[in-house]
């Protein structure tokens, strides 16, 4: 016999394929009851996640499979904490109190910055901001797609990257002001003039790449990541990454050359243009990469409190 809350859930649910049986099954699996979260509240959370990630026309099997793949126990813990249940907070603190500082240390690499990062996140997780007199916790935005551990680490990393980006803008501005570069006369045309033929040929060559290939190039050449790290990100073997990079770079050079020849350059002119390009790389690149985020500097720079 269904109770009234289950009936209410079933009739109100806009999601095709949702049933009170599935709701109860997920509720039991999640252990939400022990954390103080009720069936209706938990089902509402799941329904919201399903509506966010699945198309409206998904069939029952897809909905059930998606729900069963969620990290239900982590989801129950996070949302029970967001709702302010004491038992949930006790469980959260036992599990994550020291782990959060360890995660922050691994990201910030410096104890004071790590502590600041972790303390800041704790405050956001607890919910220091109010909306309609209700405390808003960052944990309510956790959707259970990945583990809660991974989500917390990602949130910490995002905060760290945001702080570094703000700090980088401040530092750059100060450096430019001290060097008087703000008021300097415009630089003479650089050796790498903005040759539109080169840009067009490059754009055409890059347009043919898949997002995975672009990611691979950016990860290796811009982010200065190792083959092992890139292999981990793309779930491929390191030797596969090495071969792909080699092949991609060769193919890109050929395509840029072909594009330059198509635009009217002779083969010799195109090769010279590319060679000049690569030579000037050594002069320009260091400066360019430092401004765009050298991976080594990223870790080593202290994240300081912005003035004021």
């Amino acid at each position: 016999m269904k109770n009234s809350s289950e009936t209410r859930l079933e009739t109100a649910a806009p999601v095709h394929g949702w049933s009170a049986g599935l709701s109860r099954e997920l509720y039991i699996k999640s252990g939400a009851e022990a954390l103080g979260l009720g069936l209706e509240a938990f089902a509402g959370i799941i329904l919201g996640i399903v509506a966010k990630f699945l198309p409206a026309e998904s069939n029952a099997n897809s909905v059930e499979k998606f729900c069963c793949e969620l990290r239900l126990q982590d989801l129950a813990l996070a949302h029970a904490c967001a709702a302010g249940h004491e038992r949930a907070w006790e469980a959260f603190m036992v599990r994550y109190r020291s782990k959060l500082y360890d995660m922050a240390s691994a990201i910030a690499r410096e104890s004071s910055a790590a502590r600041e990062l972790a303390d800041g996140l704790y405050a956001e997780l607890y919910g220091t901001s109010l909306k309609n007199e209700k405390r808003i916790s960052k944990l309510s935005s956790y959707n259970g797609r990945g583990s809660l551990d991974g989500w917390l680490r990602t949130v910490l990393a995002q905060e760290f990257v945001n702080r570094y980006r703000k700090q980088r803008r401040l530092v750059s501005l100060e450096e430019e002001t001290e060097a008087g570069q703000q008021f300097a006369s415009p630089q003479p045309e650089s050796q790498i003039s903005a040759d539109s033929r080169m840009e067009i040929a490059t754009d055409e060559a890059l347009a043919g790449l898949s997002p995975d290939d672009r990611f691979l190039l950016a990860a290796y050449y811009l982010d200065q990541r190792t083959l092992a790290e890139i292999a981990l990100a793309l779930q491929l073997h390191e030797s596969t990454i090495s071969r792909k990079l080699h092949k991609l770079t060769k193919t890109l050079r050929k395509q840029v050359l072909a594009g330059l020849k198509k635009s009217g350059m002779s083969r010799r002119q195109a090769e010279e243009a590319l060679q000049v390009d690569v030579r000037d790389l050594k002069v320009d690149l260091r400066k360019r990469l430092t401004q765009e985020g050298d991976a080594a500097a990223f870790h080593k720079q202290k994240v300081q409190e912005p003035a004021g």
């Binding site: 990602t154 990257v161 890059l206 995975d212």
Partner: protein, 324 residues
């Protein structure tokens, strides 16, 4: 490594001009962490990769998250290969292809040998006399030593379609409940419930790369147990939300399937860390009968046997089922 043209590097680093609010499109922590844990659908991954290929900040987040979440020995596994390909002789294509060919020949030989061994055991099981006449009885003392892979005779009897015993099988009667299933080992062809003869489990407990997988068993009370040390010790495994008695189990690597009373069926893809309940259905009919036998020849191809001698098969890892 070939140098990348500076023009290409500049264009890679540039944010797309058309996305005026590009920074607002940064990926959520959920999507990034799910990406790092490889839990996105192919479509979601493609969309996220499109963004990551252009967004240095989101890529930085991924690099911070990845090393902690990746496989614990992922870097260690890759390191020896990296060394090999840095040596000019060992890194030559001819050597690589020769090494691959040699590995394939060895793997093929091992697979043939294992197939012969299993065929021999199957023939021995088929020739066992008087098995059909023995009534099904539960074993009184659950075995913890899984080196003796003798399957209770009643299990083989139950699976014979013409067996008078199987025809009389009454799942409700406690004395007719199938005895404890054999410890599930990662055998390429047969799951535990189908084995009718002695099997030396230890030699079949590792795959060709030598990686050891957990062993599984069900006690006489239908409780699930797992061993991480080749059967020397066993730990009880609780499947959240399950209150049914379990009768059958099969394992393929880290994929484990457990079935029991009233059509209950659970699957874990990570050696029992997380479980999901599976409800096979075909043409509007859902499996409701006791699952007394499970066989998975690969991660995708599997078969269930019920107390009423129904067979349910899947070719896609349990997403869809056909009843026979």
């Amino acid at each position: 490594m070939t140098l990348l043209p500076e023009s290409v590097r500049r264009r890679l680093a540039a944010e797309p001009a058309e996305a005026a609010n590009f920074s607002a499109l940064h990926s959520s922590a959920d999507m990034l962490s799910a990406f790092a844990e490889d839990r996105l659908s192919p479509q979601e991954r493609a969309r996220l990769m499109e963004h990551l290929s252009m967004c240095a900040d989101c890529r930085q987040v991924v690099w911070h998250v990845l090393p902690e979440l990746g496989a614990p020995d992922a870097t260690a596994q890759l390191a020896p290969v990296r060394w090999a390909f840095r040596s000019p002789w060992l890194g030559s294509p001819a050597f690589r292809w020769s090494a691959i060919a040699a590995c394939l020949i060895v793997a093929g030989g091992i697979a043939l040998f294992q197939r012969d061994v299993l065929q021999h055991h199957q023939i021995a099981a088929d020739q066992r006399p008087a098995v059909l006449e023995r009534p099904m009885q539960r074993e009184s003392a659950p075995k913890t030593d899984s080196s003796d892979g003798t399957a209770p005779a009643a299990v083989a009897a139950m699976l014979e379609p013409s067996s008078p015993v199987s025809a009389k099988h009454n799942p409700a009667a406690s004395t007719n409940i199938p005895p404890r299933a054999q410890p599930a080992v990662n055998m390429p062809l047969h799951a535990n419930a189908f084995m009718g003869s002695k099997v030396t489990a230890s030699s079949l407990n590792a795959d060709l790369s030598g990686k050891i997988f957990p062993r599984w068993t069900l006690t006489s009370d239908g409780l699930l147990q797992r061993s991480l040390d080749a059967g020397k010790s066993w730990q009880p495994i609780v499947i959240p939300g399950n209150s049914s008695t379990l009768h059958a189990i099969a394992a393929q690597g880290t994929h484990v399937w457990v079935g029991g009373a009233a059509g209950v069926l659970y699957h874990s893809s990570d050696a029992g860390k997380d479980w999901s309940q599976v409800k096979p259905s075909d043409g509007g009919k859902t499996l409701a009968d006791d699952v007394i036998g499970i066989e998975f020849s690969s991660v995708q191809m599997g078969k269930l046997i019920t107390g009423r001698q129904e067979t349910w098969t899947t070719a896609d890892g349990g997403n869809t089922w056909q009843k026979k």
